[in-house]
Structure formats: structure tokens, C-alpha cells
């Protein structure tokens, strides 16, 4: 039998110590509160733990040696309620991508670090689409539509972007256009953008000369040494090429932003922060009024701990945040039949919804692409916002949003041999195929391929959701999370428009290719129909499913990131916002939410209860 140990209560209890919780740890301990954070894994010392052993594609990319073991917990997925959801059995790429974070830093230890602000459109998809294209428009293009406005606007959110960027350490030079004007930023990113590859530079100059507003890849990898707003010194990227992308490497210099190298060190320094490692949280207990009483977790010896607190922050990643609330009975579970409840509701997939998009493409002669060298979020490409959000006219179209355009980014970000191995098919045999692999890391010496276009965002509907799987359990006997999700037509329709010769955007993209001096330009091909490929991607970039909103009937959290039914529970993360066009959706968009939660938690500690009123807005315009 396990021994039950009652821990010393804390003012603030953090569930998980990843990117989101780390910020709360720093902010609240600096504000003088006693903070205790609990995480599954160790505290990584990047300079020691990753310095010589990270250059191991098989160990990291396939065996996931620095991640949480998939043997202990998985997720199941199906496409509709009549199907049996199968579990992801492998931990990882290439077949099943599950890679859960492990320890302080969380998934931030191994993510790509792609960043970029989301523009004003995504905050008001519902209302702005209705006012511009008609009240019934969204419902007509998105069956069972369940899109919602965010409970705040871009301009209310903007000061929290600044707070997030200056603390987390974002590298970038600008953020593209909104309706032809540069997106408003009250403060520049703290570090400059990363350098551009030759092709990225060509894309930048060509699109600039056409009147667009290209900008270098926004990244959470430090492009220069920097001391953040919590006084933590950050080292710059060394561009060694073993970074993010498909295999996901931890960073030995600490340039890749996560809680272990940005926020938790500041919290530790205050003396107010208590870190509980190697411990598995399995339940929240509630008081009669619905507020959270304590959390329970297993320590590494199997003992049960009960940790009480005044205010709680659920910083568990992705489906585990939602799952922990469903298991604990916190919030109202979503019911897809009656379309009531909110925990699990509005699930979307925030990243590249179809495997084959076939937009305009062409080749530029004489530019090398040494793709083994640095790439991914370490920079390389230049990007445009001009063909996403509502930055072009959607009158008469059957979709909303669009796609960011970019060129010049190296596929690299990691060796990619495993990507190649994982992408095998019946064609991957014999001398003909083998020859395609010869010198594949030095492509572009004769012609660098450029492919534009893309996929419009997956939209929330009432049939895509999370719940608890009735058949598969984790190593502690609790049910795994179940995903019920199929592509909404919006992504497919947008991709088709981009790839259709003669449409306004297709013409514009072809013009860009022409300006770049590309030859062999194709206006686009047939977009692979939806319902063709989806479930290779299990784990990351799920968005929504536990949304913030302005009504307790349709959202789990209010605009202060505070749970409607459990006012001393706050949360932040991708699952707490909703769809948008910035690809990948990611940390940058959710980051300001944790700054809001920090402010809300401090308000709550001073005066418990549901918070009201609009966001204070640390600085910036109204």
C-alpha cells in the first residue's frame, strides 16, 4: 500500500513545469508568493545533459530518450463517434508522433521553436466574418460550426505579447502585414531575426519589390546573447543543425527557449519556489464550492502526496490538461450529442491539415541549399502574412483564412535521415530510388525548389472533441485521452483555391515565383481530398478543446484564464485558445495567455472569486 504524505501547502500550486508553468513560477515567486511546482521528470541542466550525447538521431528521434515514455501513457484517436479509437503505440516519429515532454522545460526542451504573432483576425473570426461576409457565412462553409471569438481583441492582447516576448526571449524582425499595413507591435522583439539562406534572401527581396512585407522566421531560439526580464542570461544559437523539425533535439547551449533556461532559474533564485521532480500528478480534489482543494501525485517511490494550495495553475501539456480535468470532475465535460459542456469542446488541429497541398511551385537555378546546416526555427526562411487571415478578400470564396507563405528554410533542423526512413513506401527500393538519395543534403546546386500555397485553418465544429477513452488506460490505471477529430472542409477548400490557376492569390503567388527568377513554374496541382491522411500526427499542435471565452456555457475559462466553475484554477496553453492561421499555432500565441493568468492569479490571491472586467493591459493602446 502506498503511504499518503501531506505536503506543506503552498500559495500557488503548479501542475507541470513546462513552458507555461515556468512563467507562473517566475512571476508569482518574484511577487513574493510561496510556489510549489510538480513535474513528471528531472530538472535538465542543458550544458551537461545534452552537450555530447544529443547528436544521436536514433536515440532521440526514434527511441525518444529524453522524453516521457509512451509505454506509460498514450492517446487514442478516431475520426467520428461510430469508430473505435486506436491507441498510438509508438512513442514517436515516424509512424506515430507522440513525443511528450519530460521534466522541467517540458516539450520546450525539444520543440522547433517556431514563433510568430497571430494577427487581429483570429481573435474575432466569428464576428468579423459575420460583419464582412454575412451572418450565415461561417455556418455555410463549416458544417456544425462552433467557432467563437476570443474574449479579448488583438489590441487588448498586444501588451501581453510584449511581456511574453521580452521574458521568453523571441528573435525576429517584424511580423508581416495586416491588410497591407505592418502588424502593430508596441515593442520590437528583444533579439533580431536569424540570418536568411540565399533562397530566403531572394524571396525577401523579390516579395519586397512586389510591395509585400516579408520578415525573417520568428523564433524562440536566441539569435544573440540576451538577459531577459527575469534577469536570466540567455546564450545565443550556434546553428549546429541538430535542432528541431522532425526529430526534435534538446539544445546544449540553452538558446532554445523553455522554462528550464528562461523562467525556472529566476524562480529558484527567489527562495520562494519549491520544485517537486519525478512525480506523477493524477488527480485534483475539489471543495464543495467547486474550487480546487489540492492535487494528488505519486512520487518516485510510489508514495501518494496531497498538496494543498490557495490557487492552482494547470500547465499540463495538450490533452493532459483536458484529461486531468475530466478525470477529476473539474468543469463540465463536453457532450457532442447535446452540444453542452465545455471541457473537450472545440478541438482543432493547428498545423498543416493535409499532407499534399500542391500550390504554385518552381525552381531557382544556381542556389545551393546545404540542408544539413542550421535550419528550422534557427532561421533561414523569409515569410509573408499577406495571404493569410483576412488579409485578402474572401468574397465569393468558400473558406476563411489562408496560409503563411515562406521560402528558403532548410528542411533540416535535424539530420532528417529518420524522416527519410519514415517516409518509405513501396517505391523506396532499388537503384532508381537509391539514386534520389545521393547527395540529398546538398540540393539546389543546380535548382532550388520553391513551393508556395498552403492550407487554410481547421475550424472548430461540434463533432471534433476530446474525452476519456473507455478502453485504454495509463500505467496508473486512469483512462487515456481520446481524440475524435476529422478535417473540416475549410482547410481543403483554401488549399484548392491556392492551387487553382487564375484565382487572385494563385496569380499573386505565381508572380512572386516569376519575380524570383524561377523556371518551370507550375500554377498548382490537384489537392488531395480530405479524409486521406491525418492520424500520423497524434501528439502535438492540438488547439482548442478547452477554450477561453466570454460565456460559461461555451467556454471552460474566462478572459483571465480562470475556470468558470473552479475560480482558483487557472490555465494557459494552445488548448485554451482557438483556431488561427499562424502556423504552427504554438507557444507564441498561447504565451500571452500565461502572462494574463499570472495577473489574474495575483488578483485572485488578493481578492478570491471570479474575476470580472476587461484585461488591464500592461501597456499599449486600447
Amino acid at each position: 500500500m502506498s503511504t499518503v504524505i501531506t505536503d506543506t501547502p503552498a500559495d500557488v500550486v503548479l501542475m507541470g513545469l513546462g513552458v507555461m508553468s515556468g512563467t507562473i513560477a517566475a512571476e508569482l515567486s518574484l511577487a513574493g508568493y510561496k510556489v510549489t511546482g510538480v513535474t513528471r521528470g528531472p530538472y535538465w541542466n542543458y550544458a551537461v545533459d545534452f552537450a555530447s550525447n544529443k547528436y544521436d538521431e536514433w536515440g532521440i528521434g526514434f527511441e525518444r530518450k529524453f522524453d516521457f515514455p509512451a509505454s506509460l501513457q498514450t492517446t487514442t484517436i478516431r475520426n467520428n463517434v461510430n469508430q473505435f479509437a486506436l491507441p498510438a503505440r509508438r512513442p514517436t516519429f515516424p509512424i506515430q508522433y507522440h513525443s511528450l515532454g519530460f521534466g522541467v522545460g517540458g516539450v520546450g526542451q525539444h520543440y522547433g521553436g517556431n514563433m510568430g504573432r497571430q494577427g487581429p483576425w483570429a481573435f474575432t473570426i466569428n464576428s468579423s466574418t459575420a460583419s464582412k461576409y454575412g451572418a450565415g457565412f461561417l455556418a455555410s462553409i463549416n458544417p456544425n460550426d462552433d467557432t467563437q471569438d476570443w474574449p479579448f481583441s488583438y489590441s487588448q492582447y498586444e501588451p501581453y505579447y510584449v511581456a511574453w516576448e521580452q521574458a521568453f526571449g523571441i528573435s525576429g524582425s517584424g511580423n508581416g502585414n495586416v491588410n497591407g499595413q505592418p502588424m502593430y507591435m508596441s515593442k520590437k522583439y528583444p533579439m533580431p531575426g536569424h540570418p536568411l539562406t540565399p533562397l530566403g534572401a531572394l524571396f525577401q527581396s523579390a516579395t519586397e519589390s512586389l510591395g509585400y512585407n516579408p520578415f525573417p522566421h520568428v523564433s524562440s531560439l536566441a539569435s544573440a546573447p540576451y538577459m531577459n526580464t527575469y534577469g536570466v542570461q540567455i546564450n545565443e544559437c550556434v546553428y549546429d543543425g541538430w535542432c528541431g523539425s522532425s526529430c526534435n533535439y534538446p539544445c546544449e547551449t540553452g538558446a532554445k527557449a523553455n522554462s528550464a533556461n528562461r523562467t525556472v532559474p529566476a524562480a529558484i533564485k527567489t527562495g520562494n519556489f519549491n520544485m517537486v521532480l519525478n512525480s506523477e500528478i493524477y488527480r485534483m480534489d475539489t471543495n464543495a464550492d467547486g474550487t480546487i482543494k489540492d492535487i494528488r501525485y505519486y512520487d518516485s517511490q510510489g508514495n501518494i502526496h496531497v498538496l494543498a494550495g490557495k490557487v492552482f495553475f494547470n500547465g499540463l501539456w495538450g490533452y493532459n490538461q483536458t484529461r486531468s480535468m475530466l478525470i477529476s470532475g473539474v468543469g463540465v465535460p463536453y457532450n457532442p450529442t447535446t452540444v453542452t459542456g465545455t471541457v473537450g469542446r472545440g478541438l482543432t488541429y493547428g498545423y498543416g491539415t493535409y499532407s499534399s497541398t500542391s500550390g504554385p511551385s518552381g525552381s531557382v537555378a544556381g542556389l545551393a541549399m546545404n540542408s544539413f546546416s542550421a535550419g528550422n526555427a534557427a532561421g533561414g526562411d523569409a515569410a509573408l502574412y499577406d495571404f493569410m487571415d483576412d488579409n485578402f478578400d474572401h468574397t465569393g470564396l468558400n473558406f476563411v483564412g489562408g496560409a503563411q507563405q515562406s521560402a528558403g528554410g532548410y528542411s533540416g533542423g535535424g539530420p532528417g535521415n529518420l524522416t527519410q526512413a519514415g517516409g518509405v513506401s513501396s517505391a523506396s527500393q532499388g537503384s532508381t530510388y537509391k539514386a534520389t538519395q545521393k547527395n540529398k543534403y546538398q540540393t539546389g546546386g543546380t535548382a532550388a525548389h520553391v513551393s508556395l500555397g498552403g492550407v487554410a485553418p481547421d475550424l472548430p465544429n461540434t463533432t471534433n472533441y476530446w474525452d476519456l477513452d473507455p478502453h485504454y488506460v495509463d500505467a496508473w490505471g486512469d483512462p487515456c485521452a481520446r481524440i475524435t477529430h476529422d478535417w473540416t472542409p475549410n482547410g481543403y477548400n483554401g488549399a484548392t483555391y491556392f492551387a487553382t490557376k487564375g484565382t487572385a492569390v494563385n496569380n499573386a503567388l505565381v508572380n512572386i515565383l516569376t519575380k524570383m527568377g524561377a523556371t518551370g513554374i507550375s500554377t498548382g496541382g490537384t489537392v488531395v481530398a480530405p479524409f486521406s491522411a491525418h492520424t500520423d500526427w497524434w501528439g502535438h499542435h492540438w488547439r482548442g478543446g478547452n477554450r477561453v471565452g466570454s460565456s460559461a456555457a461555451t467556454s471552460t475559462f474566462n478572459g483571465w484564464q480562470q475556470c468558470w466553475t473552479a475560480p482558483n484554477l487557472f490555465a494557459a496553453g494552445e488548448v485554451n485558445n482557438t483556431t488561427g492561421d499562424t502556423v504552427p499555432s504554438g507557444t507564441h500565441i498561447a504565451g500571452p495567455q500565461v502572462q494574463i493568468a499570472s495577473e489574474g492569479m495575483q488578483k485572485y490571491l488578493k481578492s478570491p472569486g471570479l474575476l470580472t472586467g476587461s484585461l488591464d493591459g500592461i501597456t499599449g493602446p486600447t
Binding site: N82, P91, A368, A421, S426, F531
Partner: protein, 383 residues
């Protein structure tokens, strides 16, 4: 005297001769001078009045003295030459000694290099060991991997890279044991064609959902450009849950591979067009068998209940992984896979003194190929 003191041509010739032959005739010349002295004293003692004779003898003496002087000079010259030659000889001997030393050093180096090469070969040979697969499976897997990545005019293939050893070693370790995979039941195949009836699990003292759930599949629709498309799921409850769920077997990977390898041999022998084990087939037939796997030609009975394309994926994936993963895992031997694909391994631009950084290479407009570096070399800090 003057005339006599002046050497005649003959005397000059003789001096020259003496000069040249000094080293050889020096002894004879000295004997000649002694003879003259003896003759002089005898004459002087017996006939002192004979002045012409004395004068003649004096001339002779003078001439002999000159010869002596000349001989002495020749001797000095000769000795100088001997000294010089001795010096040259000594110098040559020193050079020879030095050369011998260098040869010795080079020989040692060659010997060391040979020893290193032998040690490396021994290491390679010790890696070229099967730990899991039996002799029949070894022959089969060597043939399978070589059919996928053949050795050809463009470069080495699976054979040189040791892909079969990579796979075998993985089957022994974490991969073979499903060490980091979720292995809990129930096990439902993605291509099930009948409704799935499942008893629900129990957790926290209650049954999740209803006691038993039947999944029958369904029809879904989606709309695009005003057209409604229908997507059929029935009767397969989960056909849409496709590639991502490819591995839904109750076996670990080691058991899975052995069942499938046996299935391939069963299929090859049972198919009239082949009629023998895979490793005995022609290259064209081997290629065809691989294609058959992807198109699920072998029956479930032949393939031990495994969907052949599931194994084909696993086989192809692991073979290419054996070509591209670090040599420490048993494949990519001598980094032949990396050399073929132009991958740098852990060479970050200066391991062999290339004098570059990956950041510089990222910005370069010309293709750069770095000689690859393995993880072992990187950690050791030298090739």
C-alpha cells in the same frame, strides 16, 4: 745554377708526376735523398780536391732538395684532400644514419597504421554479428535489405552499410522489446472489416462509458465548392484510422519480425512463380516479392496474421534507418550511408580542419559536402 735551378720541362713533368703520385711515391723519394747524403760524405772524405764533382753533387743535392720540397707540398695537398674526403665521408655517414632513423620511424608508423586498421577491421567484424536472428533468417534478411538498397554503380548499399546487423541489434534491444511503446490491450487491427465489440475498461471504481460498446462504422460527408462528398466507413469501424495506427499487434517487435520473416519464406515457396526461398530468387523476382508485400499478396495464413504491408513498412523503414543512423548502432558502417547522402554527421564545419561553421555553410550559395563524423569520433574529439 740559374739554369739548373730552373726546372727543365722534364723536371716539370716529373714534379707534376711526383705531385700527382706523391701519395704513392713519397717513401721512394725520401730514400733517394738519403742516398745522396751518403754519396756526398763518401766523396768528400776520399777526394776533396775534385771541386767540379762537388759542384755537380751540390746541384744534384739542390735539385733533390727541390724535389723534396715539391714532394712535401704535394703531400700536404694530398693530406688536405684526404681530410676533405674524410669529412665528406663522415657527413655522408651521418646522413645515412639519419635516413635510417627516418625509415625506422616510418616503418613504425606503417606498422601502427596497420595495427589500427586491423583493430578497426576487428571492431567491424565484431559488429558484424547476429544476436537474435537464426542462420536462415540471417541469409533472408541480408537478401531483403540488399534488394531494398542494392550495391550498384552509384555506391555502396545495404550490404556495405550492414543494415541487416543494424536491424538484428535493434531487435535485441529497446525496439525489439517494445520498451518505449504502449502495449496495453485491446488489440484491434486498423483494417478490421467487421463491427468491433469491446468491453469497456474500469477505472476509479466505475466503468467508463457503457459496459460494452459496439462500433459499426458510419458514413460521413463533407462539402467542398458547393458539392457534398460522401466518405464511407462501413463495415470497417476504423478504416479511417489508418497509417498512424499501423502497429496494433499483441507481439513485441522481435516476435513480429520473426513471424513476418517466416511468412515471406512461406509465401515465396508457395508461389509457383518463385518456388524457393527469397534469398535464392533472381533480383527481378526479389523486387517483385517486395512489391507483393506492399500490395498484401501473401494471405493472412501465409503471413501469420500480419498484414504484409505492415511488415513491408517496418522492413523498409528499418533498412533505410540502418543506412542513415550513427555507426554505433551497427549500420552505416564506415559511414558509407552518410558519405552517399552527403550528410556531415557531427562534423560542424571544422572537424578535419575545413575552417567553416555550419552558420557560414547555411549562408553559402555553393553546395558544401563535409566528410562525415560519427558520434564516437565527436566524443573522442579526433578521427
Amino acid at each position: 745554377m740559374a739554369d739548373s735551378s730552373k726546372p727543365t720541362n722534364k723536371e716539370a713533368d716529373r714534379r707534376t708526376f711526383l705531385k700527382i703520385g706523391a701519395g704513392v711515391v713519397a717513401g721512394a723519394a725520401v730514400a733517394s735523398v738519403a742516398g745522396v747524403s751518403y754519396y756526398d760524405s763518401v766523396i768528400g772524405g776520399n777526394n776533396s780536391s775534385s771541386s767540379s764533382s762537388v759542384s755537380s753533387l751540390q746541384n744534384q743535392l739542390s735539385s733533390t732538395a727541390q724535389q723534396l720540397s715539391s714532394t712535401q707540398q704535394a703531400l700536404n695537398t694530398a693530406q688536405g684532400q684526404v681530410s676533405s674526403l674524410t669529412g665528406q665521408l663522415s657527413s655522408a655517414q651521418q646522413a645515412l644514419t639519419s635516413a635510417n632513423g627516418q625509415i625506422s620511424t616510418l616503418t613504425t608508423q606503417v606498422s601502427t597504421a596497420n595495427a589500427q586498421a586491423a583493430a578497426l577491421q576487428a571492431n567491424l567484424d565484431s559488429d558484424a554479428v547476429f544476436l537474435v536472428l537464426n542462420v536462415n533468417e540471417q541469409a533472408e534478411l541480408l537478401a531483403l535489405t540488399s534488394a531494398i538498397i542494392p550495391t550498384d554503380s552509384t555506391g555502396p548499399g545495404a550490404k556495405e552499410a550492414g543494415c541487416a546487423y543494424f536491424i538484428d541489434h535493434q531487435l535485441k534491444g529497446l525496439y525489439g522489446n517494445d520498451g518505449n511503446c504502449y502495449v496495453g490491450g485491446p488489440y484491434v487491427q486498423a483494417n478490421t472489416t467487421t463491427p468491433v465489440i469491446i468491453t469497456d475498461t474500469t477505472w476509479n471504481g466505475t466503468t467508463a462509458g457503457t459496459a460494452t460498446t459496439t462500433y459499426t462504422g458510419a458514413t460521413a460527408t463533407f462539402m467542398s465548392a458547393g458539392t457534398t462528398y460522401t466518405v464511407n466507413y462501413p463495415p470497417t469501424a476504423n478504416v479511417r484510422v489508418g497509417a498512424g495506427t499501423r502497429y496494433q499487434y499483441p507481439w513485441n517487435k522481435r516476435e513480429f519480425w520473426r513471424l513476418a520473416l517466416a511468412g515471406i519464406e512461406t509465401y515465396c515457396n508457395a508461389t509457383p512463380a518463385y518456388g524457393t526461398n527469397f534469398e535464392n530468387l533472381s533480383a527481378a523476382n526479389q523486387t517483385q516479392v517486395l512489391t507483393d508485400l506492399w500490395s498484401n499478396k501473401p494471405t493472412a495464413a501465409q503471413f501469420n496474421g500480419i498484414l504484409p504491408s505492415d511488415f513491408a513498412y517496418e522492413l523498409f523503414f528499418m533498412t533505410w534507418a540502418g543506412f542513415g543512423m550513427d555507426p554505433v548502432y551497427g549500420g552505416n558502417r564506415n559511414m558509407v550511408g552518410w558519405t552517399y547522402t552527403g550528410f556531415n554527421g557531427v562534423n560542424q564545419g571544422n572537424f578535419y580542419g575545413e575552417g567553416m561553421t555550419t552558420k557560414q555553410i547555411m549562408l553559402m550559395t555553393t553546395p558544401v559536402t563535409l566528410k562525415p563524423v560519427s558520434l564516437g569520433q565527436y566524443q573522442k574529439g579526433s578521427p
